[in-house]
Symmetry: C2
Subunit: 142 residues, 2 copies
DNA sequence: CGGCATCCGTGCCGATACTG
DNA sequence: CAGTATCGGCACGGATGCCG
């Protein structure tokens, strides 16, 4: 799953990056990458994509799975993801209505990346908790 | 406060998510992973971490690099990242003041993941743009 | 230069009611 | 069941002013 990610051997403090820097990117607000990142990095989007990877889900199933999301936000999030071509919406013309959501192929590729993010979070949550505790202690002693 | 967060009785704290279900995680709001994800997925945090990977930067350098960020939000973002142990803040007692920000080791590991996210976005931005155009066209015809 | 405090507008988001 | 429509609170974030 983890495609041999480009390791950072020592370039954390390296200042010698050329124009070929794989991470030299446009930071302007109107940059399309930033627009998409804002969408992708959305908290609800992350959760929806994560859940849909496991299997196709109906609207209420998603709402029940995601604690704290309102019907409105789930609808909005799903519409955005559908518009971006990450999620496919299928309506079955039955009574009562049945609507299923599934990841598209594009959504599946994104899920690989998101999974890495979640995995990182799970792996390092203890370090972050410790860092927060240490920080709060430092601030308190002042 | 800093006491170990209430662990979920079920599967949340299980680090063995790799085999049977690679993406079965706790979606409850009080789940620590979700809290951290919200922070990590923040749009400004992403940009700051991305820029700091290249080299250490001063406050104003960051502000100039990140188009559209206000001084307030840069300060808030940097404080959060510092508190989470992802960014290190160094103050040089000179006049005028000089403050430098750098990624910690933990921050470097996160950057690997973020880079994957940005790379994905760059790689698929055309597909997303096409999907959006198609979606908008469908909606317009109705 | 690199903050922090304060004020205040905007828009996000939840709650509610209604439809097919 | 799966939405849309509408309203309103409040938190997020911008602008400004002051300080070490």
């Amino acid at each position: 799953m983890e495609e041999g990610t480009l390791k950072s051997p020592s370039h954390c403090d390296s200042t010698d990056y050329g124009d070929s820097d794989p991470f030299q990117w446009d930071t302007r607000e109107d940059c399309e990458v930033r627009q998409i990142l804002d969408r992708v990095a959305d908290k609800w989007s992350l959760l929806v994509i994560a859940l849909l990877e496991r299997r196709t889900l109906r609207f209420t199933e998603l709402r029940n799975e995601i604690d704290g999301i309102s019907q409105r936000m789930l609808t909005v999030t799903l519409r955005q993801l559908e518009r971006d071509g990450l999620v496919e919406r299928t309506v079955y013309p039955v009574v009562p209505p049945r609507v299923e959501y599934a990841l598209t192929d594009l959504g599946c590729t994104l899920h690989e990346t998101i999974k890495a993010l979640v995995t990182w979070t799970e792996k390092h949550q203890d370090e972050i908790a410790a860092a927060r505790a240490a920080y709060d202690r430092r601030m308190a002693t002042v």
